[in-house]
Structure formats: structure tokens, C-alpha cells
Symmetry: none
Subunit: 411 residues, 2 copies
């Protein structure tokens, strides 16, 4: 049972955006034990799409098409599908009803573009879209099934999980299990060196590495004759990886560092405040990507020195004597945030994100961060490489990792 | 002259890494005026590769293959190429010499894997690799040329620029010019409806649309006999698009809404403060992605009611009487931020990002945002759809757009 993906969009073949949809789908399908053999990307061009669909359908049991279902004139997927399956576009009443309900909920009017979205090939089975107006559809064709999903990532993902997975589940062998461990604090080659030999002692397991800004992901991919065996093999190798890497591993699977830090705070019942200078709100944003009212009191983005003084009570003497980017100011910021927000623990960060602001003794990327907690204040520093956004991201990661460590470790 | 890309790698079809190589190449080729029609991604499987190569060669003047040239046993590209071109692999002396020089420079020994890298199809023309050991090669085949480049991004990019570009330059037309306008405030079908007919009155221009969270990009792609004509046609159509869409258009090209809002503030000499509740620091983060010290005083992320009161001076009566998500609290937050940070203009936002927190009269996604400026306070509200992150993103966009409008419009 092989699978092919067909990603449609002129913006993709012109290199304007990365094809993240295909990567996500390929990962999901692989985890289901399905074998993705090909990923094809084509422009919004009807002849190309017809040919592409026919070629892929002829070779693969499942073809998953994304994109080109929108309301505008450059959305040609449904028309191409009709031609590929030698049928016609008709107004699909089920699709039109779903579109009507969606736009009524949003309080907007039905427009010509919406009606176009209900024009689907004869024989199309509707795949519900719980988020947007574009209905997906499926063609049950000779030798397999072809699914047509919207290109908007959230809609595509939701529709894949809700509508496609149940329809391909029977073919899923589920004999591959992947565990992804997230590490922080060491580079890729260092992590790989610490894991040398594991593939030899676990012959059905492969290790993979992926570097993401400040973290390295370790993928442990186990195969077996069935799901249980694959799971057992992955789990056994994962345990060895965790043992070797120790505290470098901060999480697994979908967990983010912010979530792990949050969990550590919650298990303490600690309420956090943040005082950010060079990260400009990034840490607060990472913490509040998930519901955070129960542990996050608030934060101050204190860009100007005046703001550090007025909002957090950092002393003007300290600012003058040590500079805004200093261990002393970081400590006073954290203590100030803890006091002002009446928090149990407070995090501060101050640094030179660039591209300007470096001096002879304070290089670009220098960041100080501090954690004020019931037991005192701890300050750390590092010089992070990369452009402004990379420095901000690495600094935010470092600070969240300190939160995780402090909240996990102390009695 | 059409171009196809063929990306080879099991890690790609398994969804382990995003195909950033293809996106980079497609962008480069498009900028040269070449027309990328298809991007194909295949696993390291010899039969699939042979078939894929033959299909693409038959349809495209240039095919650029990346990946599978390494020293290990799963690198099958050269063998597949030999089969596709009905020839044999032989030791290419030029390639072996280049590999020897490369590894001598690194001080390592010649290994079997390196010798394998010199095994290339008869008739292959070597493409030098100034970075790594894998030599690239080109097959001058019927109807065009096929280039084989390494998958390592730095090596691929260097080889493309040094070796491929000079060989395809004669075909580069440089006769396509794309202008991308960013709009905010209307949906994709609404924007498209307002631009109906432009493609008919500008026959050499195509319009494309791309939805990004709260904004819709309009792409104006003009073609001509040369660059000048293409540019003129794009510019003429772009002027019509701008006229029709009026204030919906906030920027062009690489400009972000945060940059446009920033420019409006700078031209006023206004210093900004931000008070965020439901966006949790996202607005501050967007504003500080670029250097911001000259206009951004600071911000408060006031998640808890206590933080709204203590840091910004929002009255407890207002919070009790109207609730944290209300026009009254938004106004007091903005006025408080303007006062505390001693700013010229302040932005506030409070809302229900979800997934919990909705009540019978305050639905999920309801957000109030306020701008306090020298002329007073203005409050707006909307109900944004989507999950927590989407609501946050849409709310941040709405607030930044209000900043842009207020800073641009007032005398």
C-alpha cells in the first residue's frame, strides 16, 4: 500500500513558501505505518494537474492532494479532478449546505467564490471542514482513493485527522513507532557522539537527529512485525537514550520547553512573572501560547531604561554603574518583577540582540538572565550566535530552561 | 523553457525534514525568469528514481536533482542516472581527482565510500564541489540538461550558483516580475471580488492570492518580452489593485504590518507602549523583531487582574463592573500604559483567546483593543475565529493595524 502526496500551488513551485503541509502529512502517514513513496508539487495549472493526478493515481493506493480548493480563479483543483476522472463539475448540495452554515456562523454573505467552492466532480464524497469554508472531498477510484484537502494548514490538518485517517486506517500497518526526544544544552554532533553504538545494540531501531534553533531532537524509530513489537523496541532504545543524555532531555513528542517549564511551575503551585528586555515579549508569548492564567501573573517588557526603573524599580545607580546588559541589572529586574507582580518566581532577561548595540567588552548576543525565587536570585549568562531573531530565540530558550531546572530541582 | 526539481531522500518522503532545498532552488530559478513547473520528491529507491528521472527529462528542458550522491549504501542517485540514460557507471577520473584533493585538504584517508562517489554514468560532465567531497555532474541529454547536485544545503547552493547558473543563464529570460501587496481587513473572496476584471484588462498579468492568518496577500505577476516590459506591466496592474483596495493595502514585498506601523510611529516621532492581556506578549514580540529602542518604550503583559490594577492602575471598580474583557478595561489599560511608560501612544488589548473563558454574553474570540494617543482613546472590538494561537495572532494584527491607522491619519 503506497501513498503519494500532491501539493498544489504556484507559490510552492515558485519557492515563495516551504511545503510544510507535505512534511506534516508525510510524518503523520509514516507514523501510521503507511509508506509514502512520492511527494509531487505542481503549479495551479490545469493540464499539469490532470496529468499529475492521473500518474499518481495509477501508481498509488492513496493519493492525498492539498491546495487549490479556495474561492478564487486560480484555484483549479476541483476542475482538474473532474477532468482527470472524466466527469463534470456540478454543484454539490452537501458541500453548498456546509459552506452556507460556515459563513452564516461568521455572519458574512454568500458570494460567487463560495458557490464556486461547492462545484465538485460528480461522484465526490464530501469531507467535512470544521474550520473554514473549503470542503474537502474524496474520489473512490479504481485501485484506491484520492483525497482532496484544503491548503490552509489548520484546515488541512483537522480534515486529515478527522476524515482521512479513519478512511485509511485499515491499510495502516502500525509497525513503525517513532519516539522524539527533545534535548537542550548540547550540539548535534555532541548528542550523536553520546549515543554511539545504540543502533548496533538495537538492530531494529534507527536514530535520527534534527537541529531546531537551540535544541536538538533525537528521533528513535523502531520497526517490528506489529505495533506492539515496534513500540517495545522504540521504548527500549528510548530508555537508553534518556539514560545516556540525562538532564539534556527536557521533553518528548509534542511537548515544548514552555509546556515542560509550565508543568514544573504548576506542580509547585508557583506563580510566575517575567521581565524581558532583549527578548521583547517572546518569553511571555511562549508561556501564553497555552492557557496560562493559573500560573502566569504577568510580565513587563522593559525596553527603555526608564521603563526598567519606573516599572520594576531597577536602581538608576545600577544601570549607570553596570549598564543595562549586566548581571546586576538582570538580578534587580527579576527581583522587581517578583515584587511588583507579587509572584513566587520571576524571570528576567537583558541582552544585546543586535544588529547594533555591541561594545568592546559586551559582544553581540551577550545575554544575562536571572531567576528570583523563594531561595534567592540566580543569574546566568551566555553569548548567543545568529541574527537578532536567533539570539532572541536562543535567549528565551535558555531562560525557560532555567525556569524548568529551578522549578524541578528545588525542595 | 520549463524546469523541474527532483529531490531525493527517504528522510524527505517520511516527513522528517522540510524540503528547504527545493524551496531555495525554486526561488532562485524563478528570480532568473525560469519557469519551475514541478517539484518531485522521491525516496532513495532505484526503480522509483529511474522512472522519475525519465518522466521529468521527457517533459522539461532543465531538471535539477538534489541528494543521494553521498558515500553510503543508501545513496543511489548516480546508479539510477546510469540506468535512466541507458549507460553504465565508471570511475570518473576527474571526479576521483577532485575527491582526493578534497580529503587530502581535510587530512583524512581515501575510503571505499569516497571511491564510490567517483562512480558516475558514462558521459557525465563533472560539476566542481568547492565545499564537500560529493562531486556533482551534468548529463547533456536529448531535449535539455539534467543537473545532479548534493543534498547538503551549503554544497548544493554553492554548486548551483557556481556551476548551474552559468549553464542555464542563456535560457534565463528575466521577463517575469512579481509584486506582492499585503492587505488587511477583508477575506480572500472579498478581496478577489474587488479585483474582478483586472486580469482581463491587463492580459499579461496574473493575480494570485495567499491567505496568512489575518491577512491576504495579492500577487501581481507580470510577463513581458523583457524585464522592463514585465516590470511596467506589473507596476501598472499593481497601481489599479492599490486604487481598488484603498486602505486595505498596508504594505508591499518584504514589509510586515509591524514594520509599517513602526514607520508610521517613527515619522511622527511617537514613542509607543503596549499593554497586553490575551495576546500575552505577542504584540511586543512582533514590534521588537526589528530594532525598536527608538520608538518602543516597553510593555506590560497583564494577565492577572491584580497585574492590571497594580501595574497599569486599572480601577478595581471597572474590572468588577464590566469584567476584564470589556471596552472600559481596554481603555483604562491603554491610558495606564501611556501614563506609566510616559509614552506618546499606547495600545492595549484584552480578550478571550480560549479555549476556555467564554461566557453567555462574551463569546470565545471576543477581543477589545484600545489606542490612547494625544487626542484621546479609541476602542474597537471584534470576535476572532480559530484556536487560541489564531485568535491571538488575529487580535495582534488588528491592534497593529489600528496603530498604523491612527499614526498615519492624524494631523
Amino acid at each position: 500500500m503506497t501513498v503519494a502526496l500532491l501539493s498544489i500551488g504556484t507559490e510552492l513551485v515558485r519557492g515563495e513558501i516551504v511545503n510544510a503541509n507535505a512534511t506534516w502529512l508525510a510524518d503523520q502517514l509514516t507514523q501510521l505505518g503507511l509508506n509514502v513513496e512520492a511527494i509531487e508539487t505542481l503549479a495551479d495549472d490545469q493540464d499539469q494537474l490532470v496529468k499529475g493526478l492521473r500518474d499518481l493515481d495509477a501508481q498509488h493506493a492513496y493519493v492525498i492532494v492539498t491546495g487549490g480548493l479556495g474561492p478564487t480563479s486560480d484555484d483549479l483543483t476541483a476542475a482538474a479532478a473532474a477532468k482527470a476522472y472524466e466527469t463534470e463539475l456540478v454543484c454539490n448540495e452537501a458541500a453548498l449546505g456546509a459552506i452556507r452554515r460556515c459563513i452564516a456562523k461568521r455572519g458574512i454573505n454568500l458570494e460567487a467564490g463560495h458557490e464556486k467552492q461547492a462545484q465538485l466532480p460528480i461522484g465526490a464524497e464530501i469531507l467535512g471542514n470544521s474550520i473554514g469554508t473549503a470542503p474537502g472531498f474524496m474520489m473512490d477510484r479504481q485501485g484506491g482513493k484520492t483525497f482532496f484537502l484544503p491548503g490552509v494548514p489548520e484546515e488541512m490538518r483537522e480534515m486529515f485527522v478527522q476524515q482521512v485517517v479513519p478512511r485509511v486506517r485499515e491499510s495502516a500497518t502500525h509497525n513503525v513507532v517513532q519516539i522524539c526526544l527533545h534535548t537542550y544544552g548540547a550540539g548535534e554532533s555532541d548528542v550523536a557522539a553520546q549515543l554511539a553504538g545504540i543502533e548496533e545494540t538495537h538492530p531494529h531501531v534507527k536514530l535520527g537527529y534534527q537541529v531546531k534553533a537551540a535544541q536538538v531532537d533525537v528521533k528513535i524509530i523502531g520497526r517490528g512485525n506489529d505495533y506492539g513489537e515496534a513500540q517495545q523496541r522504540s521504548a527500549a532504545a528510548s530508555a537508553v537514550v534518556r539514560e545516556r543524555l540525562g538532564p539534556l532531555v527536557y521533553g518528548e513528542g509534542e511537548e515544548t520547553l514552555a509546556q515542560v517549564a509550565t508543568r514544573a511551575l504548576r506542580s509547585r503551585g508557583w506563580r510566575l512573572a517575567a521581565a524581558e528586555s532583549c527578548t521583547g515579549g517572546l518569553i511571555a508569548k511562549m508561556l501564553t501560547s497555552q492557557p496560562a492564567s493559573d500560573f502566569f501573573v504577568g510580565g513587563a517588557v522593559v525596553y527603555a531604561n526608564m521603563a526598567k526603573t519606573v516599572v520594576l524599580g531597577v536602581s538608576e545607580d545600577t544601570l549607570r554603574g553596570h549598564g543595562a546588559v549586566s548581571a546586576e541589572v538582570a538580578a534587580e529586574m527579576a527581583e522587581g518583577a517578583r515584587r511588583v507582580f507579587d509572584a513566587d518566581i520571576a524571570l528576567s532577561i537583558t541582552g544585546i540582540a543586535g544588529p547594533t548595540g555591541a561594545t568592546s567588552d559586551k559582544p553581540l548576543g551577550l545575554c544575562y538572565w536571572a531567576i528570583a525565587h523563594p531561595g534567592g536570585v540566580e543569574v546566568e549568562h551566555n553569548v548567543f550566535s545568529g541574527d537578532r531573531n536567533k539570539v532572541q530565540e536562543k535567549a528565551a530558550f535558555a531562560a525557560l530552561n532555567s525556569i524548568r531546572t529551578v522549578a524541578s530541582a528545588r525542595g
